[in-house]
Structure formats: structure tokens, C-alpha cells
């Protein structure tokens, strides 16, 4: 049976019909309305809140009338005509910095970085190597969960895979159309993304990446026909997906190793991509050792009680005296990832949180009535920052390097760009000993994808990918020791 459902998000009103056995979340995202669902409908993140009026059945099977009540859309099934109001999610900032590429080609090139959270696309004039247009958007698959695992879970049925696949392909086509009046002039498409996003774009099932031993179906790196993926592109336009190293070290990482030039370095460089996943590579022109740690969502605000992506109303900076800045210069409504890291650093510095991560007086720390940091939030941050740091330490030990051997630390990725290096060192996410050698490199994956629009770029990229080896952390006793060691906050005095 189906019911008429009126979905109101901001000024956008849609009327759709909702099946009794589909959750309201499924119906809302099915019609393309905006909704945040970091846990992908698992009922654990509590972010998919809606205001609902009408009769609904919850997941325990209880049906009742909801009168303008707040509820989780992933836990309700419609039983009558409904009116549903979603919180309008304004998109967060998307990194779209770019660089020139080698000139000498023909026509236009489309370079794309598909992140789990954001998508950045660029149009290049291949003859001059200049970027003509660029565009950043939120990844439309986000309504299916903030991390790759939720997407994998959704893609575990053929229909789900089809849904996510066409969503991202359509998004790329539309972004290309918006940047370029005549897409028939595009002669080459190059895409850098993590391995799961590459599978979804290519229409391959990522299911095997979701469970141990996390083996992908493909590592890509081959040239295909663009029109087989993106309708409306020329028959002879080629499409290239940057080569991946493993299920959790994708073409975005190899592209980053290329665009940052570390593949030429004779000294050791640590490359850290902090986005929704956290990937690390340590090496030099002789080769790289790579690993993946489960970092992301905690830093993107998805796991903290008042967390949010960077949007108006979010605290994005907290100073050491605990004064703060709010995006959009309004009253604080939430706190985004960069703000959370600053806040933890400031709470340590003011001795409100001790070195074990305990809030001394046991009370939530409030910035205002609505926005606070809880004891549980700090624990989540500890788990996430320790995973990244322990990943670094594991790579260093395995490569026989110590801090003094590291020439520089490069921070890439959507979240990395906004994270303050000093705060990250204060909470021990990055080693304070390397603070002065640490710098941001922006959207290295997008720049790498652009370089791969040229034949030389692609040749170089495949040699880089061959020189990368993968360190599995899941079953590593060394990682586990380092992980426990990295969990406390013992280093802030070295920084603040």
C-alpha cells in the first residue's frame, strides 16, 4: 500500500507516494530531497531527524499518530497520509584548488575528484594546460550514509548498486554541463577517487571491500570509453580511472602522490589524506608504504553530539582562551570538525579535560545553551586521532624511520585542509615533533586527476602505483600497541 507524503525542506516542497515497507528516509532520498544520514539508516547517528505529522509504524512494530513530532526518518514507516519536514542541509565548503598541467593536447579535459563527501570537477584546455572552469558539490550519495561502509551496504543489492552508480554518473554529467556549454568538445575524462567510489562509478560491486580481507574487484588504471559511463559523451572520448593500491588506498592517493611531487623526493615524506577516510603514505622516489585508518566521520562532525559539516552556524575555530568563531557570523548551532579539534586542544590547555581525556568536573562543556562537547565526544575523538597517529607510527617503524628522517608532512583531503596543524599536534593527531615540517597541500587528488589527462601523466601515475605497497593494520600487533599508546593527550604542552 502507498501513502501520499508531503516533504518540505526549506522552500522546496515535494509530494510523493511512499510505500508502507519503505522507511521515510528511503522515500525522502528517493525523491531527491535533501537529508543527512551519516549512519546510512542504521538508527545510530540520530541525524536523520524530521518533523512528522500523521500515522507511522516504528521499527519495533508500534503504530501511532505523530503530531508534529521530531523522529528519526530511518526508523519510521508510513501508515497514513503524512507531512514531513526535513532540516535543510546547506552544503559545506568543497576544496577546488587547481594547478596548470602540461600543455600540448587537443580539445577539453574533464578531471574529477570523487570524494566520499564531496565532488570536485575541473575543465581544462588541453592545448594550453590551463583550467577553464571548476565546480565543487556535495556527493549526492551522501544521503546513503557518510562513510564508505554504508554505501557498500546499500550497494549490496543490484538495485542499490544501480541507484548509487547512476546517482554519481548523473552528478558528473550535470557538473560537466554546468561548466562547459559544449561537452562534445571534451576529449578526455580522468577520475581520481577512493576505491569504493571508483567501484560505484564503474558500476562494479564494492561488496567484497566491505568485509575482510577487503579485496576490491578492480584496481583500475585502464582507459575506457567515456560514453559507456557518461551518456552524451563522444564515442572516441576516453575515460581513465586513476590506479588504486588496495581496497582502502585508492586512485585519489596515487594521484596525490603524483601531484605533490613526492614521487621525486629523495627524502622521506609523510602524506596524509584526511577526508571521510584517513589514508597515509610514507616514502620517497624509491617507493611508498601505504595504509588506511578509520578516521573520518569523527572529524567531519558526524560522530559528535553537536557535530555537523562546515556550514553556517557551525563553530569552526576555537581559540586557546575558548573564545570561538561561527561560520556565517551568527549564533552557534553546531560545531564542525576543525572546531572540534580546536576545542579539544583548548580544553586541554585550560585543564578542563585532563591528559587521559576525562572532563575534570564530569559535565559537558557548553559554548552556549545549544552547543557543547560531551565526555563521549572526547572519547570518539581519542579513538579517531589515535588511529591516524598509530597508522603513521606503524608506517615509520615498518620503514625503519624516525621523526628526524622525515623531511616533510603533507596534509591533503577535504577535512585536512581546514584542520589547524597546531591544534592537530596539540591533541596528538599529528606528531608535535614534526609540526614545523607540516603543511597543507589542498586537493591533491583533483590536481593529480588533472595531470592524468595527459599521456605522460598517466604513464607516471602507473609507475607510482607500482611502487606503492600496502600495510594491513587490521591484524597488526604493532599497530595495536601504537594505537593504545596514542590514545591519551600527553603532548599538548609541547605545542601550546
Amino acid at each position: 500500500m502507498e501513502h501520499k507524503i508531503t516533504i518540505i525542506s526549506g522552500r522546496d516542497v515535494r509530494i510523493v507516494s511512499g510505500k508502507e515497507d519503505a522507511t521515510l528516509l528511503e522515500t525522502i532520498r528517493g525523491c531527491g530531497a535533501h537529508i543527512d544520514a551519516p549512519c546510512g539508516g542504521n538508527g545510530t547517528c540520530r541525524r536523520c531527524k524530521i518533523i512528522v505529522s500523521g500515522s507511522c509504524c516504528d521499527i519495533s512494530g508500534n503504530t501511532r499518530l505523530y503530531k508534529n513530532e521530531e523522529a528519526l526518518s530511518c526508523c519510521l514507516y508510513p501508515r497514513s497520509e503524512l507531512t514531513v519536514t526535513t532540516e535543510s542541509v546547506s552544503g559545506s565548503k568543497v576544496l577546488t584548488d587547481e594547478a596548470d598541467i602540461a600543455p600540448g593536447g587537443e580539445g577539453l579535459g574533464l578531471a574529477v575528484d570523487i570524494g566520499t563527501t564531496t565532488v570536485a570537477a575541473y575543465i581544462y584546455d588541453l592545448a594550453t594546460g590551463k583550467c577553464l572552469a571548476k565546480k565543487g558539490e556535495m556527493n549526492r550519495q551522501r544521503a546513503y550514509g557518510s562513510d564508505v561502509i554504508s554505501r557498500i551496504r546499500h550497494a549490496s543489492t543490484p538495485e542499490g548498486l544501480q541507484e548509487l552508480c547512476s546517482l554519481i554518473r548523473r552528478q558528473l554529467s550535470e557538473m560537466a554541463d554546468a561548466m562547459c556549454p559544449d561537452t562534445s568538445k571534451i576529449t578526455y575524462v580522468s577520475i581520481a577517487a577512493n576505491t569504493v567510489m571508483q567501484h560505484l562509478f564503474a558500476g562494479l560491486s564494492p561488496e567484497s571491500i566491505g568485509v575482510a580481507p577487503f579485496t576490491p574487484l578492480s584496481l583500475f588504471g585502464e582507459e575506457k570509453r567515456a560514453c559507456d559511463y557518461l551518456p552524451g559523451f563522444n564515442e572516441d572520448t576516453k575515460l581513465y580511472l586513476c590506479p588504486a593500491v588496495a581496497g582502502y588506498v585508492g586512485g585519489d592517493i596515487t594521484a596525490g602522490l603524483m601531484s605533490t611531487g613526492i614521487y621525486e623526493s629523495d627524502k622521506s615524506v609523510l602524506f596524509i589524506d584526511i577526508g571521510t577516510n584517513g589514508e597515509l603514505a610514507l616514502g620517497s622516489r624509491d617507493g611508498f608504504l601505504c595504509c588506511a585508518t578509520a578516521a573520518g566521520p569523527a572529524f567531519e562532525g558526524a560522530e559528535t553530539e553537536c557535530g555537523s559539516p562546515a556550514k553556517d552556524g557551525a563553530i569552526d575555530t576555537v581559540n586557546s582562551d575558548l573564545s570561538y568563531h561561527v561560520l556565517g557570523e551568527c549564533e552557534a548551532e553546531s560545531i564542525c570538525g576543525s572546531g572540534i579539534i580546536d576545542a579539544v586542544a583548548a580544553l586541554l590547555c585550560n585543564e578542563i579535560v585532563d591528559e587521559t581525556g576525562r572532563i575534570e568536573d564530569g559535565e559537558n562543556y557548553h559554548f552556549n545553551e545549544k552547543v557543547y562537547i560531551s565526555g563521549q565526544d572526547i572519547r570518539k575523538i581519542q579513538l579517531a586521532k589515535a588511529a591516524l597517529r598509530a597508522g603513521m607510527e606503524t608506517l615509520m617503524t615498518r620503514s625503519g624511520k624516525s621523526y628526524k628522517d622525515i623531511d616533510s608532512v603533507l596534509i591533503a583531503g577535504g577535512f585536512g585542509a581546514y584542520m589547524k596543524i597546531k591544534s592537530a599536534c596539540a591533541i596528538g593527531l599529528l606528531p608535535p615533533a614534526l609540526m614545523d615540517k607540516t603543511r597543507h597541500v589542498g586537493n591533491s587528488a583533483g590536481k593529480g586527476a588533472a595531470m592524468a589527462l595527459t599521456a605522460e601523466g598517466r604513464a607516471l601515475l602507473s609507475t607510482i602505483a607500482e611502487k606503492c605497497s600496502y600495510e594491513e593494520l587490521s591484524s597488526s600487533p604493532l599497530f595495536n600497541d601504537k594505537y593504545i599508546e596514542a590514545m591519551m593527550f600527553e603532548e599538548w604542552e609541547e605545542v601550546l
Binding site: 542504521n42 521499527i59 554504508s150 568485509v211 576525562r358 565526555g375 572519547r379 579513538l383 590514545m487
Partner: protein, 211 residues
Amino acid sequence: MSIIAEISQAIQNGKMKLIKELVPQAIEQGHTAQDILNNGLLHGMNIVGDRFTRNEAFVPEVLVAARAMNKGTELIKPLLAAEGNQPIGKACIGTVQGDLHDIGKNIVKLMLESQNIDVIDLGVDVAPEKFVETVKTENVDLVCCSALLTTTMPVMEQVVAALKEAGVRDQVKILVGGAPVTQEFCDQIGADVYTADGASAAKKAAELLTA
């Protein structure tokens, strides 16, 4: 402070060296191994567990306390056996197939042990059949499944089904947990107990075994 209280305190502070000194002293003074275990070692570990539940202590502190407790129980093991001390029950625990996260599982194991429950650790990536086999051969009372990935949560449902199929479902209580697991999920798959953290899991387990 009595020496037994001192032992409890040393556990809370994770002082393994001190435990090595205090436990033999307590035996010397005529305390039974049972007394040292229940009112010293387990008492201290329970306090750590409660602090962990309230977010006052964290993973590393639980692990150092557990290390000290293990040292202590090792020292009194022969005496305990001689006194006829029996664990209150037996559990098996594992991270389900396809999942390799084990830190949470290890904490639950330590907490169960600190309730004087005998625990068989099946490790990570444990297939449903392995749980069944263990129930059949080891005579366990509790089956504990951990999953940290939303992609591996469904394996817990398979464990419940496999135990039913093998006709041993009613011999055991099934506990499920891990960050993405919820009470609703536990109910939905027909498991018996869900708790959000390790210390509460062990309390619940002890209740089930002594009920």
C-alpha cells in the same frame, strides 16, 4: 587501609608491580584466595569498569588495570583451585566473520573475566559454525558476538540462526555488541542481550549466570 583494600586500589591504579608485592603479603596474613579475588582484585576491576561506563576512564586505563589483575589472579590460581573456587559460568566471545576489529571485544573479555566468568576467546573473523561448534563442545553458557562494521552486523543474525538450526539455541544466552549495534537490532535478530559498553555487558552476564 586493609591489605585487601590496598589490592583493590592497586588494581584501580593499574600498578602491576605493587600487586606482585601485595598479593603474597595478603596470603601470608592468612587471607583466603577467594577473599583476595572477590574483595581485592575483582572489586578493583569493577570500580574501573564503572568509571569506564561513566566515561571517566578510558581504554588504556582499563587495559593497564586488567594487566595488573591478570598478574594477581595468576599468583592465586593454585590456591583458588585448592579452595574449590569455581567461576560463575563460561562464555565464548568472538568478532564475527568479515570483521577484524578486536579492541572492543578484548575489553568485553577482560570485563567478563573480572566477573569471575571463564572466557574462551575465538578471536576475529569468526564464522557462525565456529560459534556453534564451541557451544557443542565446550558447554558454554554465553555466546558473545562483536561487530564494528555495518556490513558484518548481519553475520550476528546468522549466528542466532545457526545456533537454532543446531538445536542449541536455548542452552545459551546470546550477547551482541559493538559500536553500530543497537537494542532494536538485538531484538530484531532474536539475540538476548545488548549493552553499549563492556563493563555493563559483564554485569548483565553475571546477572544472567547467577539468576
